[in-house]
Each structure stands twice: as C-alpha cells, then as structure tokens.
Symmetry: C2
Subunit: 417 residues, 2 copies
C-alpha cells in the first residue's frame, strides 16, 4: 500500500489519508491549528465531546442534582460501567476491569495481591529499564514484607529465563515507554504459569493503540492508564484488570469502603467484594472519571485491527522518511525496525536530542525528549494522518538542514520554512 | 442575638440573614431553585465559578496547550500549591498539606507511616462507631503487618483511657459523621504524645466548617476530603497533612514516582522526597483537582470565626425549631445539645426516619438518612441562611402534622403546603 520511498511525496501521503478508513474519526478530536501532535502517547488529544460532558457533569449532575447524582447519574457505578466499556479493548470479559485511582496505585494493589497469593515465594520480576514508577512501587511492596520479598530487575531478553520456582510474578509493561518494544504477552504469561508464577501486565502504552488479548494470554492482572491512547484527559483515572478466577481470592491491602461487599451496610469489619469491585478503595474523582467515557466511545466506534494496521503504517512511514530525508544528521533508530515488534511510537537517539526536540516543538511538532539522548514520537491512529507524518518530517528536515536547532527558541518558528 | 423561640418567626430569621456578615458569599454558589440543601456535609454545593474553571481546564489547558500544561498550567504543582491554600483552614503551615488521592488512600499512607515510626508498638486506636472506611483501612494496614499490629476500637469516652505504652497512634475523625460530636483534638493529641503515641486526625467533617488547629494541637498527621464543606466537587481529591518534623522521616509504602526526590531523573531506585511530596504516588486527576481551587477561594474570602459562629447559630436554631414545632412527633436529638461540642450538622433519631427523610427530600429539603433511624442535616454557613432553616422546619412540620410522610413519594410535593 505504501509507495517506495523514492516516489513518496506529500501527494502520496494525502492519497493514503483519503484511503484511510479511520480518517473520519479525526474530526471527533480538537487539534490545535498548525500543530502536529505526536505526543498522544503521553497525553491524548481532547475529544470534542469532552467540553460538553464536563459542563454537564459540573452544572447539571453536581450543580443541580447534587447528592442525588450518586444514583441518578450513576456516579457509584462509573468504575465498573466504564471498566466494562474498556474491557473489549484489552481482551477482557465484562466484570474483569474497573476504572479507578492511578496506575501506580493499581499496580500497588495487584502486586500486593500477587505477593499474598504466593506466600511461599519471594521474587517479583520487572524490567529494569521500564518507566521507573513500576519498579519503585514494586520496591515498596517488597519493603512492606519486611525483607521476605525482593525485586529482581531484568532486561527484555533475560525475563523468560529469570522466571523460576521462587518467582511470585512477572510485572512487565507490554510496550516499553522509551523504545516502544513490545513484549510477547502470551509467551511470557505461559512461561510464568509454567513456573507457577503470576503474570501482571502494564498496558499504559498499548491500551487503545493495538489489540491486546489479556484473556487469550491468560494474564492474571493488568493495569494501565486512560489518558494516553484512550484520550481520557489529564490524569484521568487508571484501569485495573483481575481475571475472574482471582476475584474474591486475591486480596489487596488498601481495604476501603468502596471495596467492601456491602459498602452501605456500614458493617464494623471489612469483607471484600467477591467481584472486581474488591479493587476499589474510596470515592473517585467523578468529573475526571466521567470524561474517560468520551474517549472510550470514540475507540468503540473504531476497529482495533484497523488501528493497529494504521499505527504500523504511520510508524514505518516516519522511520523511512527520517532515515531518507535526514540522512547524515545523526539520527539512530532506537525503536525496533520491525513494526510487529513495536508499539505506536518511534524513538531516535540523537546526540543533540534535547535542542532538536525543543526546536521541533517551537516549530509546532510536539514530540518529547527522554534523557539522555532520545527523541520520542507517538502516533495516534485515531487523529494522526499520513500527511501529518510528511509535514512533521518536513519541519525536521528544515530544522536539521538549516541548523535551526542551534537557534534560540523564539527564533525557530520564523526560521522554519 | 437569636430571639426567644416564642417570638421566633420567619421575619426574625430574615432579620438574622440581613445581619449575617457571610450572607454575600451565598451568591457565589449555584443553589437549585426551590431546594433547601442541607447535605453540604456529604457533597458541597457547586461554586458558580466551577463551570468556567472546568471549561478552561478542559478546552484550553488540555485541548489547546496539551502536554505543555504540565508546566505552563502548573499541573505538576497543583497538589502542593492547593495544599498550601488549604493549610490555613486547618491550622497547618505552608508545605505541610498536599492535595491528592482519596481520604481512604491518604489514611492508608499515614497509618502505614505511623506503624513504621513506632516499630516496637502494636496497637492502632480508632473510634468504633466512626465512618467505617477508616476502620477498614486500619484493619488492612494491620493485616499487612502479618499480625504484629492490631486495631482497637473504642467509643468516644474510652479513647483517652485506652492510650498506653503499646499504642502506635490514635486515628480519630474530629467530628463524628453521624452524631456530629467533636473530639477534643488538643487533649487527645496531648494524651497520645504523653504516652509516646502519634495522633492522626480525619477532618472530613470539620475542614471548612470550623476552626481547626493542627499546628496548635501538635497533631502528627491528618487527612480529609475536599468535597463536603470545601465544595471541591464530587469525589474531588482529598488532602493529607504531615507535620514538618515527620517529613522525610515517616515513610509510606506506596512509593510512586510523584513521591520520588527526583521524579524526572528516572533513577533506578526509590528515594523519597524530604518534604510533603513524599506522600504523593502517581498522576493526579487534573480536572477534578483543579476544581478544588474554586471552592477554596471562596473559603479564603471568609472569616473562619464567622463561619463557626454562624454554624453554631444555624444548628441551634434548627434544634430549637424542630423541638418546638415538631414536639410530639417522635424526634429525639442525636447530636450534642451544646453547640461547642457539635460540628456543623444535626441528627435526630426517629423511628420512621427513612420515610420521613424521603418525604422531606421530595418536598425539596435535602438531608440524608443513616441507618437504622437517623435523619441528618448539614448546615453550610457559606450558603445556608436562617430563613432556609425556618423554611426547612416549616416543610417538616407540614409533613409531620399532615402525616404526609406516609404518602407515596410522588404525592408529597403537592401535599406540602
């Protein structure tokens, strides 16, 4: 479908946009004029429906209906109802996903549950180069056991070999936040189960960007955020998946009233719910939570196979264009070259990565920088087009060819042709 | 200032409203037409500024500025900046309060920190009749120690006597959610310290409703919510207070990246911040969090002494009117009669409390019911007036005199004169 690099020009990219079955969904997002937003893997763009939904929740549900909205607007049920909406995007069944709290907190709950489920084992395995909060949280869970449990950090190719009879769980981020490499969820989960260990997946960089099959892989627990590819808004509540077989069996230590079997009976002692609600703690931030639905509804109108196909095409296109048109400018691909091994993002290493990204941002191409030398670009198939990729690379070429990245930030935009 | 009950009529209440220094603040809230809202102790009314603030956060900060808003709109600093705004309302110094997560989660953190600070002690003391989530959370913290720590539940008058050399901490809700009785924060804290124990206060039903002096009492930790008297919106993030002397010393187990000493250095191991930010975990729900400021700003325009004086006068007035005008209808005061011993709410026990409250709500007077027999009314001095109290009791009289509480719900409003 994609033309050869030699014959690839903006017109060819426009033709690909015209043939894109997902193109109509772009109109459901607000994208600032003149900006090419390649940071949806950090904070997803705003669905146009979000402003109206926020207004409704604030003025009608809170302002006018007040306390009645806990029932009449379904506030109490939001964590489960929205979890059920998200479930098909990650291969979960109804009743296996709940929306609540932050990813870090949800990871704390499921890691603690795993430790309790494997009381005679002592090691949690995580990826050392992962986004640090996962490893920090695991460190905290281990410390709380008074030294009985420890954390072992491995890199990608060491993980399967590290799993043994002392492993409580592997807790891996499915798509690496920096390189974008994809772990083999089915194989690692199978290897963990073979050793009697549990498999926990962090889907922050995969949920909404590619098909995920927690059920098919037999995953035990998962967590992830809703504000990246799911477009739920800044810091919108995260999600937590627990396979049905663990519900009511796995216990988590933050035993608040929303996780109680009878939250309104005000019983003196804690009894966990026997369903996914046992992972709830306390009152949720309703305005932020309600906005999650606006993003989910757009996803549910799209085909995940089409999203993945376009994601692979967009990232392939970006890599080819950067390597062809910025050859000699010092960019080294820092993501897998094989699209099947890559999430919906592309990273390049560049010795001057920080000023290059600063100049790109000043020129209206929003990616991000990860120390020490990585420029990172996320491609959100719901609202990023092929011509956007062309234009982004075009501005990068201009910045590199003209040495514009060396200019003070305020001079960049005028200098980019 | 308040006339005798015998000469008290609506005109007298209107005169009290005219003399009320807080009366102008009522206009800063949206109160639904025809409704008398006496449930601000459960969910505070909506500040009129909330809709515009939500619109700004969603459309400008998220929609247009996108990822840049973490810095340009100060999203990263919100927990501390808003904590500093809240601090004077609870007698805390700048840097002692942070806004984040839910009350239950924050209680988990500070109880866990207390357990770690007193490794050779084994008992947490809480009030047995308190709102259950506090006791559930303490149960979870104790369970996580594998039996080393246990929870002892006492009632009000037993607490001071229960504190001994094995006490880790007392963790008491300052104003009881049901009866509204106020604990003596200074005396219980002093007694705890005398025994070498810590004092933790839950301010859910006092923050914003009465002067609280955490610093003066020497409290160690505190938690509380922002969606009751502080009008932050449904499920808005809670607050956490840690006295300066404990910061960097007390450790909490949910060690996420927002609590790291260098959150953006992406270090391999966790190092806690040495200030209040050590109690943060992960990304906060920004839209819900931003709305907290709208409520706080109204509070900061009011004098807390005036709020308390009006709160005592409103609750006194309500008790006098109910007892005088509903005499013989079976209401028994279930809150302290002495206003100084009472928060900003009044509860009555009534054998038919449930249908009575249902009828009152149908008649536009919003209070709530707490099993088995308590009707509970909250009085928010910022937006509740003396004539509101008169009108609420007037409707109650009508419902009781006419036996209207026995009618089906949909017939109530027409039947209330």
């Amino acid at each position: 479908m994609t033309p050869d690099t030699a014959t690839l020009d903006r017109a060819a990219c426009e033709a690909m946009d015209r043939a894109d079955p997902l193109a109509p969904l772009r109109d459901r997002f607000h994208l600032p004029e003149g900006m090419i937003y390649l940071d949806g893997n950090s904070l997803g763009a705003m669905p146009k429906g979000a402003a109206a939904r926020a207004h409704e929740v604030v003025t009608r549900e809170w302002g006018t209906d007040l306390i009645k909205s806990w029932n009449s607007a379904g506030w109490f049920d939001l964590p489960v109802r929205l979890g059920d909406k998200l479930a098909p995007l990650v291969g979960a069944a109804p009743g296996e996903v709940v929306i609540c709290d932050s990813t870090s907190q949800n990871l704390f709950k499921v890691l603690s549950a795993a430790v309790a489920l494997r009381p005679d084992r002592s090691v949690l395995i995580l990826e050392g180069s992962n986004f640090p909060t996962n490893n920090y949280i695991a460190e905290g869970v281990a410390a709380a056991t008074g030294g009985r449990v420890s954390v072992r950090l491995c890199e990608k190719d060491e993980i399967a070999g590290a799993i043994d009879a002392d492993t409580i769980a592997v807790a891996i981020t499915h798509v690496h936040y920096k390189s974008g490499h994809v772990h083999d969820m089915a194989a690692i989960t199978a290897r963990a189960h073979e050793a009697g260990a549990l498999a926990i997946w962090d889907l922050c960089h995969s949920a909404g960007a590619m098909p995920v099959d927690l059920g098919g892989a037999g995953a035990d627990f998962a967590v992830g955020c809703t504000y990246k590819y799911l477009n739920g808004g800044p810091g919108s509540p995260a999600f937590l998946f627990a396979a049905k077989r663990h519900q009511g069996q796995a216990l988590q230590p933050v035993t608040g009233w929303w996780g109680h079997a009878a939250p309104f009976a005000f019983e003196p002692g804690y009894r966990p719910q026997h369903d996914i609600r046992q992972f709830l703690i306390g009152t949720q931030p309703i305005v932020s939570m309600a906005l999650v639905e606006t993003g989910l509804d757009i996803h549910l109108a799209a085909d995940m196979g089409a999203i993945r196909a376009k994601s692979m095409a967009l990232t392939d296109l970006f890599i080819r264009l950067v390597e062809a048109r910025c050859a000699g400018h010092g960019f080294t691909l820092a993501s897998p070259r094989d699209a099947a091994a890559r999430g919906s993002q592309v990273s390049f290493a560049h010795a001057e990565g920080y000023p290059v990204m600063r100049a790109l941002i000043a020129a209206g191409v929003i990616g991000d920088f990860r120390a020490p030398d990585t420029v990172r670009f996320g491609f959100t198939p719901l609202y990023t087009g092929y011509a956007d990729v062309w234009d982004a690379v075009d501005r990068l070429v201009s910045i590199m060819d003209g040495g514009i990245w060396k200019l003070p930030e305020h001079q960049v935009r005028d200098a980019v042709t």
